[in-house]
């Protein structure tokens, strides 16, 4: 008998004969969480993520590129990692080089340019799949176009969020999108820039991941 079989046989020998009823998670959320209007959700999301030290800018489809450029200039960043083959990535690629921003793409597996990614990539732009109002959380599902390290290694991470895709709660997001039927390689909830309070309970940002998180919240009417 191997370790697996020994562990399982010990557990099975003492498994309770009856299983309690499946906990009613949906019922709990239905009675304990407010359901807000789109505008209120956006407001609450913004308040929560700003409290976690993120920088939020309300933008529209007409002005988000200009706002992004303004943000980069204010931070004296002249190089941005973007995804090809995405609408937002291509928009940046078409526009930013003429403004003096060097646009880099993630077109090779990380092994080919790991040092460059870690040492010479000051900022990145990715898109959020959705967000959660209750906790001020961005939901990212990295993929072949926008791989996992894009939202982690560059010291400044800019996220484009469609304000129409904000859910009230994490539970609502996973239920509405049917996450239990299939998750990607790595699904992520991000609620601010990297931080730690490990030294004398003093909060410090930029522990290992991005030091700054910038959210461009896309709405049709600028708020």
């Amino acid at each position: 008998m191997n370790a697996r079989d020994r562990i399982l046989s010990k557990l099975k020998a003492k498994m309770p004969s009856t299983t309690p009823a499946l906990p009613d998670v949906a019922g709990w959320f239905a009675t304990h969480r407010v359901v807000e209007s789109a505008a209120d959700k956006a407001k609450r999301f913004r308040a929560c993520i700003e409290l976690a030290h993120a920088e939020v800018h309300a933008v529209t489809s007409a002005n988000w590129l200009a706002k992004l450029l303004e943000v980069l200039r204010a931070k004296q960043i002249n190089k941005l990692l973007v995804a090809e083959e995405t609408a937002h990535g291509d928009a940046v690629l078409n526009d930013f080089p003429r403004h003096g921003i060097d646009c880099q793409t993630y077109d090779l597996p990380i092994e080919a340019w790991k040092s460059e990614m870690f040492q010479q990539t000051p900022a990145s732009l990715t898109v959020a799949r959705a967000a959660i109002a209750e906790t001020g959380t961005l939901i990212l599902w990295p993929d072949a176009d926008e791989p996992r390290l894009m939202s982690l290694v560059p010291p400044v991470h800019v996220v484009l969020l469609d304000a129409g895709k904000i859910y009230n709660t994490f539970f609502e997001a996973m239920q509405a999108e049917g996450w239990a039927n299939g998750l990607p390689t790595n699904a992520l909830l991000i609620s601010g820039p990297s931080k730690t309070a490990d030294i004398q309970q003093t909060l410090a940002y930029g522990a290992h991941g991005p030091k700054e998180l910038v959210v461009l919240m896309l709405t049709e009417d600028e708020q």
């Binding site: 370790a3 562990i7 399982l8 010990k10 557990l11 099975k12 003492k14 498994m15 009856t18 299983t19 309690p20 009823a21 906990p23 998670v25 709990w28 304990h32 929560c48 976690a52 090779l108 597996p109 990380i110 790991k114 870690f118 906790t135 001020g136 959380t137 993929d143 072949a144 791989p147 996992r148 390290l149 982690l152 290694v153 709660t169 994490f170 996973m174 239920q175 996450w179 239990a180 998750l183 390689t185 790595n186 699904a187 992520l188 909830l189 991000i190 609620s191 990297s194 931080k195 730690t196 490990d198 030294i199 004398q200 309970q201 410090a204 930029g206 522990a207 290992h208 991941g209 991005p210």
Partner: protein, 477 residues
């Protein structure tokens, strides 16, 4: 249980370690301040007591539901992880777990492993085993990195370096990190750690992490963290090894939101942690980063013993938030290192006997005031005081056949048992009690003036010269 672990007996020297902390005003101040801070942060996250209670009830029911189905869920988890391309390994003992992890490292000719925060890896002493095998194991959580640099172990499961002041850390960095001058500016210290560890994330062959929750229905490993080092360890190196106790499993993805909310709010008083990382497979074709291999090591190490007993099984409900230690008057005074166990504080006292046996831990359950604070704050309602009473009984009653725990009766003493039996007999019988108090009042002068630890800070115990019943009799009542 492995020979390696049985050699370690935290009970030995527990009093001396506790006394050393109690006698150190700086450490006491440090723990007091940190615990007050964590308690107030948690309280601020739960302003609505009705909501808190209903969420705790939900959390308890989720943990109990999943534990009731544990073996079935482990099989389901294994099947779904394998379907997703994650390799699953099982270990009964710390030695087996180390052998599996180091075997994977050796297959890849690994020289450096970067580690995310994992108390289970502390439990198996992975760093020592890796070092013995010639593999560097570097902690990358800032607190863990600090305690590793200092040659220490974590003193708290959530905040490993909570016992250190920023000045101590500043001196440590100046002494141990090449090219670093003394600075006690916290931002600067964090940047020093960031710079050192970023280079290591880039170079490492293996990334190791713990697991906060494993989801059976989707074959997903979930990690809760703030720093991003967990994401680095699970994404940058070519191989990711995760290790978890067999109890950290839920059947449904929908079980995660309530548990995550209870965990982050109870642990550090955060609405949510900065990162919640859900890993369901290695790098897929076409993806440009992430490890090409992901492994999960499922560790028993005494958990199946706790599982076998209906009452002790509740120990496994724990989601490792650390709230019980933050609110424990004993932990607050003696700190985490005094316990000598991987898991300190109230949760440590109820889980460690299953990992190390009662021979090694029999006095731990006595280091409690039974004030009930740990049970009151536990987000999944583990009845910790009740379990401590049970462990006292297991440790100190006479050994018998078919014990529920390894080392049952390890603390048994014929003398102590006889004294308590005598005490119980006297207090049960009015006539015996009368005789005892009569003798006590007449011969109170025989009581010694030095009565061990009691008289170190108190006046000696001495029966009153006249009994209450005699005084009442005199008054005719």
């Amino acid at each position: 249980m492995s020979e390696h672990i049985l050699e370690f007996k935290p009970s030995e020297g527990f009093r001396a370690r506790s006394k050393a902390v109690v006698d150190n005003p700086f450490l006491r101040q440090s723990f007091r301040g940190a615990m007050d801070f964590l308690m107030s942060k948690r309280a601020a996250q739960f302003p609505d007591s009705e909501e808190l209670e209903s969420l705790r009830t939900l959390g308890e029911s989720i943990r109990q539901y999943n534990l009731a189905k544990l073996p079935t869920l482990l099989e389901q988890l294994e099947a779904n992880l394998m379907r997703n391309g994650i390799q699953v390994h099982w270990a009964e003992t710390p030695d087996e777990a180390n052998a599996i992890i180091l075997g994977i490292c050796q297959q890849h000719r690994a020289k450096l492993m970067v580690k995310g925060k994992s108390m289970v890896s502390e439990e198996i002493e992975l760093n020592h085993a890796a070092e013995a095998a010639g593999i560097g194991a570097l902690e990358s959580d800032m607190g863990e990195y600090i305690v590793q640099l200092a040659g220490e172990k974590p003193s708290h499961i959530i905040m490993p370096a909570i016992h250190k002041t920023k000045e101590e850390i500043a001196r440590l960095f100046a002494d141990k990190v090449e090219g670093v001058d003394y600075t006690d500016n916290v931002d600067a210290l964090i940047q020093i750690g960031r710079n050192v560890l970023r280079q290591k994330f880039l170079e490492a062959d293996i990334g190791l992490s713990g697991v906060n929750f494993a989801v059976a229905e989707t074959g997903t490993l979930c990690l809760v963290e703030n720093e991003g080092n967990g994401r680095m360890c699970t994404t940058a190196p070519p191989v990711h090894i995760a290790i978890t106790g067999i109890e950290k499993i839920v059947e449904k993805l929908e079980h995660i939101p309530p548990l995550l909310s209870l965990l982050t709010r109870s642990a550090t008083g955060q609405n949510i942690s900065t990162y919640f990382n859900m890993i369901s497979s290695p790098r897929k074709p076409g993806e440009k980063d992430g490890p090409s291999e992901v492994h999960l090591v499922l560790l028993d190490n005494g958990r199946s013993q706790a599982y076998a007993d209906e009452q002790l099984r509740k120990t496994l409900q724990c989601i490792r938030c650390g709230a019980c230690m933050n609110h424990c008057p004993v932990y607050t005074r003696i700190g985490g290192h005094a316990y000598g166990t991987t898991y300190p504080g109230p949760i440590g006292k109820i889980i460690s006997p299953h990992m190390l046996g009662l021979e090694a831990t029999s006095t731990m359950a006595t280091a409690s005031s039974l004030c009930g604070a740990c049970g009151e704050v536990c987000p999944v309602k583990i009845p910790i005081p009740e379990l401590l009473m049970r462990l006292r009984e297991e440790a100190f009653t006479a050994p018998h056949a078919n014990p529920a725990m390894v080392g049952q009766g390890a603390g048994y003493s014929w003398l102590m048992t006889s004294v308590w039996k005598g005490w119980a007999a006297v207090y049960r019988s009015p006539s015996l009690y009368g005789v005892a108090t009569w003798l006590g009042s007449r011969f109170s002068w025989l009581m010694p003036s030095k009565q061990g630890a009691w008289t170190s800070v108190r006046v000696p115990l001495k029966p009153a010269p006249r009994r209450l019943r005699d005084m009442l009799k005199e008054r005719g009542e």
